[in-house]
Structures are given as C-alpha cells and as structure tokens.
Point group: C2
Chain length 143, copies 2
C-alpha cells in the first residue's frame, strides 16, 4: 500500500486525481504500478487500477492475473471492480471507502451481483486516512 500511496502522490503532482494502484504477484513481485492518468492521456478509462491490470497482463503475457493481488488507495469504481473480476485477481486491498463513487462496498456492489463470475477477496480501509488526506487536499485546492 505504501507503493500505491506513492503513486497517488505522484499523480497529484501531475494534476491528476491522487489515486494509485499496484499489482503484486503471489511471489511478492511488483508487476505494475501506476497513478491516475485520465488527464494526461485524455482517457476516461485511465484509472490507476485499469492501468496496472493492463500492464500486469502485458507483463505476464496473459489476460488473467491468477493469484495476483491489487492494492489501490481508494475503493474501486464499478468499471475497475468489473475489470478486476475479468482479470481473476485473487485479492483487492483498498484504502479509503468511497460512498459516492465506489462499486465494491457501495453503489452497484459488483462482486455481490449474481452475474459476477469471479469475486476477489476484498480488504478495505487499509491506510485509509493517508489516502483520504490526499484526496481531500486535492479537491479542497480545486474548489
């Protein structure tokens, strides 16, 4: 989660929403790390989670990240949660809960849907205060 927080801080420094993510293999190897790049790429799908899932798939040469874990500083949205299911991730560890935009413990609760084929194990609230401070600071500065 420290690496994910570092990516979130780097994203903030680039003017992006400060969210960071990391994909780790079962061996402990970091397969991919990224922060949000929506603005830089002009890509509404360039959330940190999607970027690391794509990069890890490319690195492993497989579209399924079996036995891999995702660390992300904020509860994933419905897009990223669905992508994590498609990627067959083993576990998702996230920081702050997101009642407005989250899709795991809030909103569509993607992994609880009867049509969801693979539900990763979920651990929420890890280093949540650090992620929250980053996000609150970012949005407060823009108001």
């Amino acid at each position: 989660m420290e690496l994910a927080l570092a990516e979130a801080r780097a994203a903030e420094a680039r003017g992006e929403v400060p969210i960071g993510a990391v994909v780790v293999a079962s061996t402990g190897e970091v397969l991919a790390r990224a922060g949000n790049e929506v603005e830089a790429r002009n890509d509404p799908t360039a959330h940190a989670e999607l970027l690391v899932i794509r990069a890890a798939g490319e690195k492993l040469g497989a579209p399924r990240l079996v036995d891999c874990d995702l660390y992300v500083t904020l509860e994933p949205c419905a897009m990223c949660a669905t992508a994590a299911s498609f990627a067959r991730l083993r576990r998702i560890v996230f920081g702050a809960y997101d009642p407005k935009g989250g899709g795991v413990e809030h909103g569509p609760r993607i992994f609880a849907q009867p049509t969801c084929h693979h539900a990763p194990e979920v651990v929420g609230g890890v280093s949540a205060s650090q992620a929250e401070i980053l996000l609150k600071g970012f949005f407060a500065a823009r108001r």
Copy 2:
C-alpha cells in the same frame, strides 16, 4: 451498426469474441472503430467499447466525448457501461441483449444506480439477430 458488426466479424476472424463497437461524433464522423482484442493484447479490459472510448478520447484530445454516440453489437458489461458514463457519451445503441454479462439492462444496471452521474440515452436490440448469430456461432464452435 453495420460498421460495428463488421468489426465483430473481424474480431471473430482473429479468434476473439465477436463484438464490435464504433464511436460517432454528432457530425456523423466515425471517431473510432474496434473489435474485441482481449486475447491479442493479453488485456482483460480490451473490450471493443473500451478500445473505441480510449481511441476517440485520444482523437478528440479530451477525456469526455460530449455529444458522441457509441454503437456496439452487444449490451455493454458493467465495466464498459461505467466507462461510457465517465466519457459522458450522449447515446448508446446496442445490438443483442446480454442477460448473463450485461450491465445496462441486466445485472448491476449501471445507469440506474443512484451514484451514476451521467446516464447516456440507451437504445437496445438494434440488428440484434445478426449480433446473436455471430456470438452463438462463435461459442458453439468452441464447445
């Protein structure tokens, strides 16, 4: 939708699930067209819809595809529906309904979620039989 179906057929010829998508500007200009590339890219997020949303954003130089429409041969999944909302697409026209994997008229019904900020207009069932024949043929050949 004819262009999207052509992309679906091209995807099938590459060994991908036959789904195609197109993003069209309000002027009628085709901004992006693609078929599924999950296998070729080793990328679980490389659904046709995500590929065209990303490509259209890059072409327009903006992460929001204001006044643009998405044509896709199958009802989008929750990942792609959420991406379409983030992209601020005006309208989604899709072919076959997808009770098992769809996220618009089925499952998490993304645009009906109280936390969904932007719900595109949705028109389903357009050229549905052609899309269904493609998909059924593809999966029957793999059983």
